[in-house]
């Protein structure tokens, strides 16, 4: 028997692998995906399918052009995850080219330009979403009232195809604003907030997902279930979602208590828009968030605070994507400065000091003995 290459320890490994991690996240996303299809019908299914398929093609294109082995990388699931997250953040009746542009941007510019999986500084799905929002504001803010699949109000299969591929307005879907968008518009018209929220914000509907919004951002409850599953599977630590939601909650509560007529309630903030999806699936993206525990707390807190700031004072109704991207940019900095304390060292890296009493005792310690040693000279 001859082993030519020395391989370092360990000689046993944990069975976890990257593809299985990705699969677990995809499983956690499945309830909200199914719910999106149920709620928004055929157009939703079309969009999700388009995103996944085009992401796969773009992925193959990138891997082929960079000369990386297709078999290893194509099945690692990271591209699928990005595409699904992007699809879930699109408006249900978005046209086909939005989906393709989005996944192309996410895969090529968001990921492979930086060197592929693990190298991207920004969350690809969020990057694509922001790019789409800035480039095609009309299509990206065209929201429709939820119309459950097979209900009378829902578009049929043919109508679904028309919506997605012909940008047809033939289907008489009820357009509706998201709660966040509505709030922004009405507040700018100087209407009192109290009245507005009572009018269109029902916390229960909002948590269950019976409102208008992006495909996968409506049902906070289902997202939370998926997130808790991931937490249980130890895919991510509790620190990121908790600090994100915590800082958003804290800021919104403070503002709400101080001036309830201008600032929306914390419950409103938590259950509307992409907050829940971001808390469990975007902020927790390992590639673009810090490695250390304290770094993660810092990152999550920053995301929450920025979300609140952009939502409240910014020009866009929804700020999660911007907040996450801004904090992504901070991640290398956080990882550089926030490091765990090493054994036997202080936080600054200097050796820890021994207790004073021990040094004093040593000073007076004498054991009158010959200087024996291990040598047997």
């Amino acid at each position: 028997m001859k082993i030519s290459i020395p391989q370092a320890a360990p000689h046993v490994r944990n069975p976890g692998r990257v593809p299985s991690l990705m699969t677990t996240v995809l499983i956690a996303l499945s309830p909200i995906t199914l719910f999106a299809v149920y709620q928004f019908g055929w157009p939703a299914l079309n969009l999700i399918g388009l995103c996944l398929l085009s992401a796969l093609l773009f992925e193959i294109l990138c891997l082929y052009s960079t000369g990386k082995p297709l078999d290893t990388y194509i099945l690692d699931g990271s591209g699928m995850l990005t595409a699904l997250l992007l699809a879930l953040s699109l408006p249900p009746h978005a046209p086909w080219w939005i989906a393709i542009c989005g996944s192309g941007f996410a895969i090529i510019v968001g990921k492979h330009v930086y060197g592929g999986i693990g190298q991207n500084p920004f969350n690809p799905a969020m990057l694509a979403r922001v790019a789409l929002l800035l480039s095609f504001p009309v299509e990206m803010t065209h929201w429709t009232q939820a119309a459950p699949l097979l209900s009378t109000a829902a578009p049929s299969f043919i109508e679904g195809l028309q919506i997605t591929f012909q940008s047809s307005t033939a289907f008489d879907g009820l357009t509706a604003a998201t709660t966040l968008g509505q709030l922004k518009t009405d507040l700018s018209q100087g209407l009192p907030l109290q009245q507005l929220t009572e009018q269109y914000f029902q916390p229960l509907d909002s948590s269950l997902g019976l409102t208008a919004g992006s495909l996968g951002e409506t049902s906070s409850l289902l997202i939370a279930i998926g997130g808790l599953y991931l937490l249980r599977q130890r895919i991510f630590s509790w620190r990121l979602p908790t600090s994100f939601l915590g800082s958003l909650l804290l800021l919104s509560t403070t503002a709400w208590i101080l001036a309830p007529e201008i600032y929306a309630s914390p419950l409103f903030h938590l259950t509307s828009g992409g907050v829940m999806l971001a808390a469990f699936f975007i902020v927790t993206d390992p590639v673009t968030s810090p490695c250390t525990r304290r770094g993660q707390l810092l990152f999550g807190t920053g995301c929450g605070a920025l979300t609140f700031v952009i939502r409240t004072w910014g020009g866009y109704p929804e700020g999660v994507a911007f907040a996450v991207l801004l904090m992504n940019a901070m991640t290398p900095l956080i990882d550089h400065y926030v490091r765990p304390r090493r054994y036997g060292r202080s936080r600054t890296g200097t050796p820890i000091k021994r207790p004073l009493w021990r040094r004093i005792r040593e000073f007076f310690y004498t054991q009158p003995k010959s200087p024996s040693s291990g040598s047997d000279k």
Partner: protein
Amino acid sequence: MKLFGFRGGVHPEALKQHTADHPISTLPLPAALYLPLQQHVGEPAEPEVSPGDYVYKGQLLARSQGQISAPVHAPSSGTVVAIDEFPAPHPSGLPVKTVILETDGKDHWSPAWTTPTDPWSLRPEEIAREVGLAGVVGMGGATFPSAVKLGQSLQYPIHNLIINGSECEPYLSCDDRLMRERAPQLIDGIRLTAHALQAKQATVAIEDNKPEAFAAMSAAAKGINQLNVIRVPSRYPMGWDKQLIRIITGREVPVGARSASIGVCVHNVGTVYAIQQALCAGTPLLSRVITVAGGAIAKPQNLEVPVGTLVSEVIKYCGGLNEEPARLVMGGPMMGQIVPHTGVPLVKGSSGVLALTAREVDDGPERPCIRCRRCVEACPVGLMPVEMAARLRADDIDGAVDYGVQDCIGCSCCSYVCPAKIPLVQYFNYARGVLDCRQTATRKAQQTREMALARQQRLASQQAARDARKAAKTEDKAKNNTKNNIKNTRPASKNPDRPASGDDAGTQHKGAAANIIATDSRVTDIPLQSEQLS
């Protein structure tokens, strides 16, 4: 007893059940033993025997040299066949100087050998000396000469002696069996060690997945003051000495300091057993208990083997191999070293032989890092393996040093949990190897620079001396000339303007001679310098 918290660690599957329930059996004496002269940290031992010599069991084969070193003894009687280069139990498979002993099967002790009278009457420094003479080294794998550790009580007051019975490595159960079967000897060894260190108390730490060993040790320790047997949680790397110190005392050993500096000393149970054997039975370290396990071994078990037995002998005794192993490991699967083939000897620090199948190794293709930070969570030291590996991938060793790669203990937790199967530990081993080489090179450069400077100064002073002589000579000649010119008159004044071509030639000739003399004197100087070097 209250335990303190600690950081990191992983939970590998223990897989000890195949070996832990069988009693230790003894390997029949092999026909030949291969005893490397360096089985320990520090200077290699110096051979005391020559090829052809007949040696008795327990006879000194090589004596220790230097402060940190350990002697090597003959594990059985027989003839020294050769003292030659032989493959070392090391991943590189490079050769090391080895005493090759052909055993005669008689296992004769030297006629002069006697059992010690009363180890309990020995003074602490005598215990340390005896242990040093017996060649005892750290048996947990560190192979640091135990006598050096025992001698530390001279510098530091030791408060707590911690006996490491955690055996956190998967597969291995040799310490477990030792504690179950030889608890009374171990307790004696602990008491002697504690006496040598003048330790106030001793604590035996056993992982809670070894209830039988805990029961046996508790029973044996009953009624002994200041000797606690405690259970610690099963979590790798519980057996890292500094981890144990943190858990038991709540304190950390400062970087660069020895654990004795905070009043703690950690010894492995195997070491304590060897100490007891050396002091009470007068037996130097001749054999050790090892675990032979792994999916490819037909009959996994614990064996007491003489030091120097070839791995192939051990595997043969254990029924051979079921299948071709993917990796042959000496030690545990987490920190053990891969060995290139079965033709390498077992040494004092070998705690096991594992023949692992590909299924057990479970080493998938390496994928890119997704920064899942499991390595950061698992690192017991508090390093960021993800960042260090990213820098080392680009050969940026200084960048990795900035992230503390020099503090890495090589426990393999990070590689174990890595879902991308990145050989993180090898990256860090590589970095530490390069750092070591750099340090050696820098030290050598510093020394050679000093030597070069000394030489330049010496040449300069020789030149100066030559010049002075020449000047004196010129003066002399001038005087003589004056004398010749002005006979029987008083000495004349100096005549610097006078050309002195003939003199110059003479001085040059003398100068060359002086140079040769200087060369000779340098020859005698040099050994001194080289001693400083080594």
